[in-house]
Symmetry: C2
Subunit: 318 residues, 2 copies
């Protein structure tokens, strides 16, 4: 059976709200291909297309997808199998009022730099400008080649109460801009509403930890995922948790990096305590010896940090 | 010719000051073994030895070592060849008023946890309690084993003006608590004073990025380094720069993580601009695509961040 495809043309949101209604309902275990448009909705196609201010609608997230059986207290596992680029170029931009070095004299905004995908015609799937499925191994920035290493920037579920635009990361996920939200990894979300209401978009062909200028190489994609509902999980999570081949990573967003570090570390302390029978102080001391804090992004309205725990010290929490 | 050894018994400082005088003078190119005592000067030898408040003198740094020919404007390269543990146990501690989760109800301070080095007698060099040179591959934390992966916590040179205790990181280095200050890497320091006046100590058998509880596994060590003066460097640096096998990493310390991120990124922007003829905005956009921001430590009086640039995009700046 081929994967079902859900496109941004079927539905996309600019806000994660408690009362989202699914555009599709799928069963736990379903394999999907999700098509996403670029974070700027196609508005930037050349170096001359500059974005003056952060658009009111940005980071369109394809969905929401309702998952049967997901209900408050369960966990939604999103296994990311592949992220393929679906257009021939990405774009990096600066916007006035946005970015780590916003306001520094030497930095100009707005500015746009297109980053073409390097591929030869032979590798294209289909013909006549159809999606470049999985072709190309690099993007170009001027004379430099950068390996393609796609990241999903915005991914989340319907929140518990307050709504969050797709520019904001929080406990429901949202604009996490985290390089580990990538093929080969699984992201676990707390479910706050029936059906979970998963949506994702805002992908990048490449992105640095930090996303300093405010974007990676923003690009349309096709994402292969498998969705699983974990009923009655052994561990309750309050925020997204990422599983990579080597580590479990708590993910926390807050007003300041200090506060995000605290939350991510507190979540790690809780997981380590549960796994090893540590009291919180012991778990905190242990967390200071292995893995550690990582920066996801420092540019969104809330900033995001993760705390990596090597798998050697943490079996699956679920 | 065997390496010259400089011990903490020959001299150690608790403050990096502009007017430091060397306890030894060596030529550029000298290979040294530097012996360091643990950051708490041996005060903690069992779980019952608790540290109530941050000691006035902490992180003793062996030295200062004057390097012939180092003068303001040159760069001192410290190539770290090996870090061997020199005692049979390290220690992790919490101290009231210190650490990422200081003040959270569930965290107790003071608390001490000794972390024994796992080694069998056969591997010991010498006899009768001499240094355990390079023995053991793990430390224990309760039932858990942690691979030994030593880090130099405090390393720096005489600053330009203001003095900094060895608890504080700044442009001269100091208490950087950065996991990349490790064997196999080279740390480059700006030279502010004749002779540079290098000193180092405060090593850890293992440490997480962030050093959340305020310490790693603090332990005495023997460090093999080679010191090289780079006269008239092509690039002037204002802060430490680390070379790992795969990346160049700018290192910046500041009051907040946000500010440290800005400084580390500005330094990366400058290096990328010089290497590729980018204007600052182009370099900033490029920095947002590769490598990225990393957390060194979030607990010292100033916090420390690095910005990694893969070597594919940055030849040696010197």
């Amino acid at each position: 059976m081929s994967r079902r495809t859900i496109s941004h043309e079927d539905g996309a949101i600019y806000e994660f709200a408690a009362d989202l209604e699914g555009i599709e309902t799928v069963e736990s275990g379903t394999e999907l291909t999700i098509e996403t448009r670029d974070s700027l909705d196609g508005a930037v196609q050349s170096d001359d297309d500059e974005i003056e201010t952060v658009p009111e609608e940005v980071n369109a997230a394809t969905g929401p997808i309702a998952v049967d059986g997901a209900e408050p207290g369960s966990v939604l596992a999103v296994q990311i199998e592949a992220i393929r680029l679906a257009e021939e170029q990405g774009r990096v931009i600066t916007i006035d009022g946005f970015g780590l070095l916003d306001g520094f004299d030497e930095i100009e905004a707005p500015r746009t730099r297109m980053t073409p995908v390097e591929s030869d015609g032979d590798e294209r799937a289909g013909d006549n400008g159809g999606p470049i499925e999985g072709t190309g191994s690099e993007i170009r920035f001027g004379d430099l080649e950068i390996p393609i290493d796609p990241v999903i920037g915005t991914i989340g579920v319907a929140p518990a109460g307050e709504s969050y635009t797709t520019l904001v990361p929080h406990d429901h996920g949202g604009n996490l801009d985290t390089t580990d939200v990538a093929a080969g990894n699984t992201v676990y979300f707390p479910v706050f509403q029936d059906g979970a209401m998963l949506a994702m978009g805002d992908c990048k062909a490449a992105m640095a930890d930090g996303e300093m200028c405010g974007t990676g190489s923003e690009i349309a994609t096709e994402i292969d995922v498998t969705l699983e509902v974990i009923d009655d999980p052994e561990t309750t999570i309050e925020r997204p948790l990422i599983e990579t081949p080597g580590a479990w990573k708590t993910v926390a967003s807050a007003e300041t990096l200090e506060e995000a570090c605290q939350r991510a570390n507190l979540d790690a302390v809780e997981l380590l305590s549960a796994a090893h029978g540590f009291d919180p102080t012991e778990a905190y001391m242990f967390s200071s010896l292995v893995g550690g804090l990582e920066i996801s992004q420092v540019v969104d309205p809330l900033v995001t940090v993760r705390n990596a725990i090597p798998k050697a010290y943490l079996p699956t929490p679920f």
